[in-house]
Subunit: 324 residues, 2 copies
């Protein structure tokens, strides 16, 4: 039996699935973050190793020995050649690891390193064709068509892009509250909701929190929940923010559809990320708006997790080779 | 003869003017940054001391001895009580400094510590009434009326506010270029202008520059010049960005006018900061738009620098006391 590893490495955790040649997940493990640009390559490597260990330790009790014939790593922020070289050397090191209870039979060709949007697409749709519209802390829209052509829109990070993301919704909410507070914007219940939720005596303390306590992108993005709640409660300003976010994601997704599926847009759009599960019905708004122009597009939630998608991609490598 | 010190402490430099009781600047000195929240209190104190030394060293050659009877420090980001206490202790230390060739006769009441918008207003108008619409790296609108009532709009910093500022214009320009690049936005010459100006082979390298080289707010804000240039050359997208910036500053300024000068808005609005001197005629656009609603408002460039305004405020303290 052939086995492959599918790995999803992100900013908060690393997931590894061990998959057999029949697309069955034999076992699954988790470890800490592995976005090496933020945490350093040594820590990232350790997280990947631990995730593999967590997955394979369980498996060897059932089936042994296990020989890995292909691996796919989908990693946040990995796109440039330099990044791929760094990760390739990590994989080389893993093959010499004393910790892992597995054997390797891994031709260079069977090592696939890609960005996290691709594995989210493959896991989300269960195949390699379609679009993923990701809107969590950050945002990106990525698609691949039947010819294997890919297209990306957005994903420019929290300073330059990420419209439609939780971070940008949160920032827009705080900005709107501050504008209502200083009189330069429309009144909004966001002032009171932020104050109650964050236990602030004064809205200006929010500025304090964000600048002086050094809140990062993740902490700020968590405030999107408050904006979502205010929108669900009927606040006009909050609803405008949610609509703007939806509208950007519709434009970005439409751009990918037009580029890749111009002939006949029958496809699945997978929505991933925290913004889709709020109370303000972003998912419904998005689907309704997208279907106005593309009635045959199906907006779905992921069928499988990204690590599963990585497993499928690793399997393709295997079949590609064995089919030669 | 009575003397006062007016000090303007900012993120890039500290300016000190020595002013006599007839509002005459006897001498002027400069030193490094003194925004203590970023650089620490020791360095900030040193910059303030050096600026005073630079100003007074020159003066003692002309007039001596010099006794300082009042001081006003206008400092970026200083507004909270805690900040004011910190700066008060700095002034105490300065009075014991061995470096300064001056005497002090400084009742606690004659020490005025305020934020930089107030001294910009007083310096800019040459008196204490009016509005300052500041749009440099950051933005804030601040006004004071004949009753001494003040009102501030904006000034929430680069993450939460600063609309109309160079930083926000720059970010909007880069975002627009990236959207044109990935197809989700309108075409714009900003792509080519950024590439040529920053010598990039590919626009995506800009993302590299900003995230991986750790560009700060100041470096990013400098890109506003490019957006301004593109607007002056007729680019529609860039002109929209400039118009949005102007429109925010008009709304913010109008909010202050409505709050403070509702009866009869005959007043001066002083524009300070780098955005007003670009090639895209932001100053003219702002004036035209503001005058539609407030035809009697005069939009002016500063008559004097902020440190001069600090000197005038220190002098008011003096006259207030001696008039008792």
């Amino acid at each position: 039996m052939n086995y492959v590893l599918g790995i999803d490495g992100g900013g908060s955790k690393t997931v590894c699935v061990l998959m057999d040649e029949n697309r069955q997940v034999v076992s699954r493990g988790e470890a800490g973050a592995s976005n090496y640009q933020s945490i350093g390559i040594a820590t990232a490597k350790q997280s990947i190793e631990f995730a593999i260990m967590a997955a394979t330790d369980k498996a060897v009790n059932i089936t042994k020995p296990i020989t890995i014939n292909a691996i796919c790593l989908g990693l946040a922020g990995v796109g440039r050649k330099e990044d791929i070289e760094v990760i390739k050397s990590v994989v080389k090191d893993l093959q010499n690891s004393q910790l892992l209870p597995i054997n390797w039979a891994l031709p260079t060709n069977n090592i696939l390193i890609c960005h996290d949007a691709l594995i989210a697409l493959v896991g989300g749709t269960g195949n390699s064709v379609g679009i993923v519209t990701a809107a969590g802390t950050g945002s990106i829209v990525f698609g691949r068509n039947h010819q294997g052509i890919t297209k990306r829109v957005g994903g420019w990070g929290y300073i330059l892009g990420d419209e439609g993301s939780a971070y940008r919704i949160a920032i827009a909410g705080v900005q709107a509250a501050l504008k209502a507070y200083d009189g330069s914007g429309m009144p909004t219940s966001l002032i009171d909701i932020f104050k109650v939720y964050l236990e602030l005596s004064n809205l200006e303390n929010l500025v304090e929190l964000i600048y002086r306590r050094g809140w990062g992108v993740t902490e700020i993005a968590a405030l999107a929940e408050i904006v979502d709640l205010a929108a669900a409660l009927g606040d006009r300003v909050a609803n405008q923010i949610i609509d703007d976010a939806v509208q950007y994601l519709v434009v970005a997704t439409s751009t990918v559809i037009d580029t890749l599926f111009s002939d006949r847009p029958v496809l699945e759009v997978v929505t991933t990320g925290s913004v889709w599960t709020g109370k303000a019905k972003m998912h419904q708004r998005f689907t309704a708006s997208l279907n106005q122009n593309f009635p045959e597009v199906k907006v779905i939630f992921p069928k499988h997790e990204p690590a599963y998608g990585a497993g499928l991609l690793a399997l393709q490598k295997l079949q590609h080779i064995s089919g030669k």
